[in-house]
Structures are given as structure tokens and as C-alpha cells.
Symmetry: C2
Subunit: 333 residues, 2 copies
């Protein structure tokens, strides 16, 4: 184990002139945020990723992490730290302090400090105005599909020799593999591949750090937030913070490839997964009317912000109010 | 509940020129760090106190807190937040962010950021040199006695109307109260009063923030650390970090009033509680040979640092090696 206890306190270096530290905290609880038997190295990687996704939403450069880990006696702390330190190294993050204790289930909480340089305008939720365009990175619903596949028996199996969680494959229960292969008889591999991508997206989300930085560097009035609880829960938060309403287009919400087949196998509703599935760890942002997202960043325009408090969604059946709600870690689901 | 989710990230203000942020993290787990049925308002106060004690050991001024709280469905979040916010207000701390989730048992992790102004030298463990004198604030063993009294059936009962955990009394099982009253027949109240002080010391430690600041302001070469795991566990850490040994005097270790009677009722060993009981949340520090602690700060000189790696303790039976060990939150006790 790294010596997290080198001192009671880590004194962060003085930020460069005009720079500021941005701080976020997020937890991963076994059996709540991830399968209870998930490889501790992957738990650690996911823990860092969900915190990085918060920093991405403000446009900060990740720098220092502080860990509080409580785990059962038999927990593989070694794999956890290998995974965490490897992932930290990838992102230039130094593990600067922490606290260890013993509990069942395992609870890992990470505090992440990132630097906002003087010439960068930190993004926040309250900056949107009526007339802004509304955007999202990547796709929606894929992580929630991955969670459902894990609930249905898919498992992440480490194949690494470094024990740091970098390499793993998905093990499918035969019955689930058969159903996935049968979803598109003309291309049996396609749905299985989409399912594997969904599990990977769920367990190791890719935070939009580069895009967050780029948007913050533009110096424009840009509202942004991390999509962690699902669009139907998070968009109302951005709208309330900014004092705006929204009108979004269900057809413009970006789905991953082969999503329809995956949704069919899961017996789920496409729009339900996309709107309320949660844990997308994607960037939701609003641009001034004359603004455009960086080219090549994989952003989709999903709608516009309005000057009424309502949030509405346009489907083939017409315009209806968006029902607020999403993936709720506090629900007793 | 306060809106912890105002943004994904809290951007700390730029520190004053030359100032730096000091960061620490500590958890409170129900049934591990405190009785499982402890009033959530007291849990919150204890959570802040143990983190403040870490900041005290570096000489930082507490400023911002970030909470991760996972608790069962029936948990009284309202009392927890009332206690936390009241205690934060007392210490000038702003609750700046957090994350809520659901688990059994309740796990609360606080990250605390404090400011080290430019003209203050942050204290750390590695600054001690042979010939330094070794000091501690307040008394040792009292918190551990309080923990044993709680294990023996003492309970903290809130009596407050504000529901913020500020006012509470100790409820004693009749048999334990009788034994405490009988410990000193000439003064039956004395041991009971000492027992109540021990429970209070354990549940609501008083971090040595003022002393830590004063020591750091001296600008001298001062080693310091928070005594959280017991002197027999923490002193070796300070010695290793500084590359020194130590010789301490068992008789000079400060005990609280009526400690002998309390120890007798608990069937404990005086020196064992003082050395390994843990959770003292007191400041252990070493001063250069010509240094003296601030007058009136209640500091006791317990020994000296040496140029050998050994840590020895002088008792009435002579000088013997200090057995390393203490209160271990990772033990399966």
C-alpha cells in the first residue's frame, strides 16, 4: 500500500498566479454503484473516472486525489491501489492523502482537486440563457444498458498480469450471449459487440476532460454539468440554476450503435434508458446562440433553452413535458 | 438538506499571495468509529472534529468542507446536517460540496481544506532532530476510556431543542453508575464526573487549532502530528519521518483527573490506555532544544528525541523499548 499517512494533511502547492483549485468528491459503494464482486482495480478506475468527469464539467486540470477507503478484511487492497495509481498516472494525478478503515460493504470515496488556470473561465451550471443551444458529448443510455447487462449476469473478468485493471474481458452467461447473438440474425456479432461496449462504458467511463478544458478556454458564457443521474434529472438542475426552460428533441438524443437491438434484448424502453438510465458521465452544455462546439469532439445538439420554466421534449407524438427523474442512488430500487 | 449539488465542483477562491490550501480526509463509520446508535448530529460533529484535528497538526485555518455521506434509508439526515452545519459555523467552515448515497452501515467521509497563510510555516512530521524536546497537548487515554465506557453501556442522549447535537447528557446503566460511584467512596461524584468527561472527550474531541496555528506562526523548526492512533503508534511515525529516536517518561505522560479510579472501574491498565488507547486527537510535537511551548496551552513535556532509531520508555522498572502499536481501525477487534 502507498503510505497515505505521510502526514495528517497534504499542503497543496500555491496555484500559479490567478489560478484556483477546483474540488469534487464522489463515492463508489460495492453493490450500489457497481457489482459487489467487481475487481477492486476496476472499482478504483471507476472511482477516479467519475470524479474526473466532475472536474471535466468545470474545465479543471486534475492534479491531486485524496482517498477514504473502507473495506472488508478480505478486500484486495493491493489490486485497488494498483488500479488507482495506474489510472492516476494516466491523468497526471498524485494520490496525496487518505484514510483507511474497515467496513462491509466496501465504500471508496475520492476527493479530487484540479487546477483552473488564471486564463480559463470555469464552467458552471448557472451560465445558460434563453436562446442558447443545448449539447451533449458522446451518447446517452449506453452506460445504463451496461448496468442492466451486468445485472443480467455479465461479468468483468481481469486478464491482466499487472493486476492494475487495465485489461479485462466480459464474460457472458450462455443464455444472455445467445439472446444477444439472436438480436440481429444477419449480424450476430454486432449486438454482442455493442453489449460489450456498453459494459465497458459503464465500468470505465471516459471523462470528457479535453472538451471541458477546450470549452472553458473559449472564454464564452457556457453552462455545463456532468451528466451522472440521467438527462431527465440533470437537465432540470441546469435549467433551474440558470433560470431557463428547455425544449429538446427525442430523435436528436445521441444513441450508441446497435442500441435498438440492445434495448430489445434488455426488454427496456429506448427513450427511458436514454433519459433516465443515468451514469452517462458525459458533458451536458449550453452554448450562446452564435457558438459552436469544437469540431471532432463528438457533440450532438439536442435542443434549445427557452425563457419559460418548462422543460419539454418533442417526440413523434408531439411536444410533452419532460418528467423529471432519473437514476437515483438514494432510491430503494 | 443543504443543496450540496449546486455544481459538480466547488472552485476554491484563489489563496492570498503566498498562501496555500492544506487538505485532509477522515471518515466516521457507524459501529467502527462510534456507537452504531449515536445521534447523527453528534456523528457529524465528531466527523468535523477529527478532521479539524488533522488541520491543527499542520497549523492551517479551516475553511471548506466536502462531504460524502452514505447512510441507510431510515437515517436521520436532517439531524446529521444540523449538527454538521452548526459545527462548521463555529469553526468558520463552509460546506462546499458533497455526494449522498445509501448504505448500511452509515459511512461519512469529510474532506477539509484549510488555508496556510504565506507567513506561516506548515508543521509536519519530518522536522524533528535529535535533542528536540517532545510535547503533547492536554491528556492521553481519556478518549479511550470514554470509548470503553460507551462499550460498557454509557449512552449519549440528546437534550437539545435545536436538534444540532449541541446539548446532550450521558445516560449510565445503573450497574455502571454504581461501580463508578463506589470507586472513590470519599467522593462518589468525582469518578462519575471523570467518566462523563471521558465520554465527552471521546465523542466530541476538541481539536488544538489555536495551538497548531501558534506553533506554526513561531517560524521555528517544529515537528507535529495529530495523535489519533495512540502514542505508541503515532510517535514511531513521527520518529521515522524525522529519522530520530525517542526516550519518553511514563510518569510524565499527562493523565486526566481521577484517571486511576476510572481505569480501575474499567479493569484496564493505566499505561496501556495512555499509550495505545488512541483517538486522543491531541497534538504531538517536538521543539528545538531552546524552544518552549506557548504558556497556558496545557502542554506537557514527555521526553526527548535521540540520535538512535530506538524509542524507549522509562517506567519505575527502568528503561524499556516502546512496543509499537495502538488503536487500529483496520484490526478485526
Amino acid at each position: 500500500l502507498p503510505d497515505l499517512l505521510g502526514d495528517d494533511v497534504a499542503v497543496l502547492p500555491e496555484p500559479p498566479p490567478g489560478g484556483r483549485w477546483a474540488v469534487t468528491v464522489d463515492s463508489q459503494i460495492a453493490g450500489v454503484h457497481h457489482p459487489a464482486d467487481l475487481d477492486p482495480a476496476l472499482v478504483a478506475r471507476r472511482l477516479l473516472a467519475v470524479n474526473l468527469s466532475d472536474l471535466a464539467a468545470t474545465g479543471a486540470d486534475p492534479a491531486y486525489a485524496f482517498l477514504a477507503l473502507s473495506a472488508p478484511p478480505a478486500y484486495d487492497h493491493r489490486r485497488f491501489f494498483r488500479g488507482l495509481l495506474a489510472a492516476c498516472a494516466t491523468h497526471g494525478v498524485t494520490l496525496a492523502g487518505g484514510d483507511l478503515a474497515r467496513t462491509e460493504p466496501a465504500v471508496a470515496t475520492l476527493t479530487l482537486a484540479g487546477l483552473v488556470p488564471a486564463d480559463r473561465h470555469p464552467l458552471h451550471r448557472g451560465a445558460a440563457r434563453p436562446g442558447d443551444t443545448l449539447w451533449v458529448t458522446g451518447t446517452l443510455g449506453e452506460s445504463a444498458a451496461g448496468r442492466r447487462l451486468l445485472s443480467a449476469g455479465a461479468r468483468a473478468i481481469p486478464v491482466d498480469t499487472d493486476e492494475d485493471g487495465a485489461a479485462w474481458e466480459v464474460d457472458w452467461p450462455p443464455e444472455l450471449a445467445d439472446r444477444l447473438a439472436a438480436a440481429d440474425p444477419t449480424n450476430p456479432e454486432a449486438t454482442l459487440a455493442a453489449a460489450e461496449r456498453a459494459v465497458r462504458r459503464h465500468l470505465t467511463p471516459q471523462p470528457a476532460l479535453g472538451l471541458g478544458r477546450t470549452l472553458a478556454d473559449l472564454g464564452l458564457r457556457i453552462a455545463a454539468m456532468d451528466l451522472s443521474d440521467g438527462l431527465a434529472a440533470d437537465l432540470p438542475r441546469l435549467c433551474r440554476a440558470s433560470g431557463v426552460g428547455a425544449e429538446i428533441d427525442a430523435g436528436a438524443l445521441p444513441r450508441p450503435a446497435e442500441f435498438a437491438a440492445l434495448v430489445a434484448v434488455l426488454g427496456a424502453d429506448d427513450l427511458d434508458l436514454v433519459l433516465t438510465g443515468g451514469e452517462d458521465y458525459a458533458l451536458l452544455f449550453a452554448l450562446p446562440p452564435d457558438g459552436a462546439p469544437p469540431a471532432g469532439a463528438g457533440c450532438s445538439r439536442m435542443g434549445d433553452l427557452t425563457d419559460t420554466p418548462e422543460i419539454q421534449i418533442r417526440t413523434s407524438a408531439g411536444l410533452r413535458p419532460l418528467v423529471e427523474g432519473g437514476w437515483d442512488h438514494l432510491s430503494s430500487e
